[in-house]
């Protein structure tokens, strides 16, 4: 049984430091504003298959919420329901204070989305992509040009302005997708695996930009399979498995509470690992055996037992992380059915 935590995001510390004169790229959240997203009892059936089972969550202004789960857990379905691309089966959703799907048209004017699959117009130039998208939001031409200039500078795409999309690198395309999502100065930014398939340089550049947006107070919902990305950017995580939320809260607290503070990964023969497992039961730790390895998740300082590991060929001691939490909650087996 996994404990379900109440909605308790901490307010991002940087939020108050950005002044309105900074010309933020996305509207900063007002103080004391109501929740940006409130989902209650949301379920979705595709035929007989229950894709989302009665989930509830809320996102406050300025929060960056990491939405995690194995493939097929229902993350993309949930996001598509928020955007009206998939119909809900039951439940209520409020986005930016308005009931959806009833008010989707008004609400979508204030949301930016970086989709999982690149949907740039490949035949158009970088600039035309932004201006065309601005047109969908009915943004006046002059204002759109101004905003496009600003975004191209922010995402280091200025000298690629006239380039056709097919000539861009993967990193440039992803940055342009993010720029496009910001063209309407959204109050909520939805990022569906924003750095998938990027090299480390491009990924770090994306993270830097996202971090700036977060500091300016942009509310974000982020899905990713890169735990490092989520750990860096999110104030709070929601972990979804088989259509249900299995945990939500501050990632650090969740890791400490549900996994432990440190992890020992030890390789060895079954006999060796059996012996070690018995020894480590003297310490407050949770043990796991998987594919010839012993994982020891410590809930207290077990340094006094480290000498026992000295004889093992390979072992590793490291702080526990989000990936451990993720595996702990969703298991090690593949989920694609």
């Amino acid at each position: 049984m996994t404990p379900l935590r109440a909605v308790s995001g901490r307010v991002p510390s940087m939020q108050t430091e950005s002044s309105p004169q900074d010309q933020p790229l996305a509207s900063p959240a007002g103080t004391g504003a109501p929740h940006v997203v409130v989902v209650e009892g949301l379920s979705k059936y595709f035929g007989d298959r229950l894709a989302i089972n009665d989930i509830s969550f809320a996102i406050r202004p300025g929060e960056c919420v990491g939405f995690l789960g194995p493939n097929g857990a229902g993350k993309s379905t949930a996001i598509h329901i928020l955007l009206g691309l998939v119909r809900r089966s039951s439940g209520t959703i409020r986005l930016l204070g308005a009931e959806v799907p009833k008010h989707h048209q008004e609400v979508k004017a204030k949301i930016g989305v970086v989709p999982q699959i690149d949907s740039l117009d490949p035949d158009l130039s970088v600039e035309e992509n932004l201006l065309t998208y601005a047109g969908y939001f009915n943004i006046p031409r002059r204002q759109a040009r101004h905003k496009a200039d600003e975004l191209l500078a922010f995402f280091a795409l200025e000298n690629r302005r006239q380039e056709i999309i097919t000539h861009l690198s993967g990193g440039q395309r992803r940055r342009l997708l993010l720029a496009r999502a910001l063209i309407n100065e959204p109050q909520l930014l939805i990022l569906d695996e924003p750095t998938v398939g990027l090299d480390p340089q491009s990924r770090h550049l994306m993270w830097e930009r996202l971090d700036i947006l977060r500091q300016q107070g942009t509310t974000m919902l982020l899905t990713s399979h890169y735990m490092e990305e989520v750990a860096r950017l999110s104030n709070r995580v929601l972990i979804l498995d088989r259509g249900e939320i299995v945990a939500q809260g501050d990632p650090e607290e969740l890791i400490t509470e549900m996994v432990g503070t440190e992890v020992f990964e030890v390789e060895g023969t079954d006999a060796e690992l059996d012996r070690l497992a018995a020894e480590f039961s003297q310490c407050d730790a949770t043990l796991e055996r998987a594919s010839g390895k012993l994982y020891i998740y410590t809930q207290e300082d077990c340094t006094r037992l480290v000498h026992l590991l000295g004889e093992q060929r390979t072992w590793l001691r490291r702080p526990s992380n989000l990936e451990d939490l993720f595996i702990h909650l969703t298991g090690r087996s593949l989920r694609e059915s």
């Binding site: 598509h80 691309l85 979508k108 004017a109 117009d121 158009l124 998208y133």
Partner: protein, 252 residues
């Protein structure tokens, strides 16, 4: 302004078209012009006049109508399917305040525009073949626009049903080619045996060919009212159905 939101989709497509304008024009105009030369000039010399028109004059207006059909239907099958399945443009558009209705109206308006562009170039080129249209030919504009809307919507229905590009082969072989051959472009329908005549006159391109010929030469005959009202009604129903099917495809 909300009711004109679909024009944004039109603008998007026009921008893309602008970047490979020549290839699409040749693609759309090649076939009707080649038919005009091969049948009208080549075969036409050995075919006697039909209803007082030379064979070239007889087939020219129908070929103009067929160019609308091909240009509009190809745009909303191959073009729209690419945007739907390959480029994910529809998904990107539906993440903005635009709706499926805007999307359908925009795509249909664009397909119809491409049909109209092809047709107008053909009409403008007709004097080169010794075919001089009457002033009534201005009436071709609304006629071919309605035909363009119909065939664009029909193509979009195919796109909503398509699982891959091969699906459109059925559409071309089983729908467009028979319409091209049996809608009275190449032979007059009114001299056929009654069952064949009845059957062929039901084809959606038939009234367009008939009216196009009347307007081109300013010679009117027969019950015009039904020939206008029925195609307009059918066109509206087709757009409605395209919206329904695309909505079903895009919003699960």
């Amino acid at each position: 302004m909300k009711t004109l939101a679909f024009t944004k989709i039109w603008v998007r497509n026009a921008r893309v078209w602008h970047s490979h304008i020549l290839a699409t024009l040749i693609g759309n105009l090649g076939q009707p012009f080649l038919f005009l030369i091969a049948m009208g000039y080549g075969l036409g010399r050995d075919v006697g006049p039909i209803n007082g028109l030379s064979y070239l004059q007889f087939i020219a207006p129908g070929l103009v109508a067929s160019s609308v059909m091909y240009a509009a239907a190809f745009e909303t099958t191959f073009g729209s399917y690419t945007r739907l399945a390959m480029q994910k443009s529809y998904e990107a558009i539906l993440m903005t305040p635009l709706t499926v209705t805007d999307l359908v109206l925009g795509e249909v308006a664009w397909g119809a525009s491409k049909g109209l562009i092809s047709a107008l170039i053909m009409v403008a080129a007709l004097p080169l073949f010794g075919v001089w249209p009457s002033w009534w030919a201005l009436g071709l504009l609304p006629l071919l626009l309605v035909a363009g809307i119909f065939f664009a919507a029909l193509g979009l229905i195919m796109t909503a049903l398509a699982g891959n590009y091969e699906f459109f082969n059925y559409f071309i072989s089983l729908v467009l080619t028979p319409l091209f051959l049996f809608s009275g472009i190449f032979f007059p329908l009114d001299t056929l045996a009654p069952p064949a005549r009845f059957l062929f006159s039901l084809l959606p391109l038939s009234p367009v060919v008939d009216l196009a010929r009347m307007l081109t030469y300013g010679r009117f005959e027969g019950p015009l009212f039904l020939k206008i009202v029925i195609p307009v009604m059918v066109t509206l129903a087709t757009v409605w159905l395209a919206r329904l099917l695309l909505q079903r495809r895009l919003i699960q």
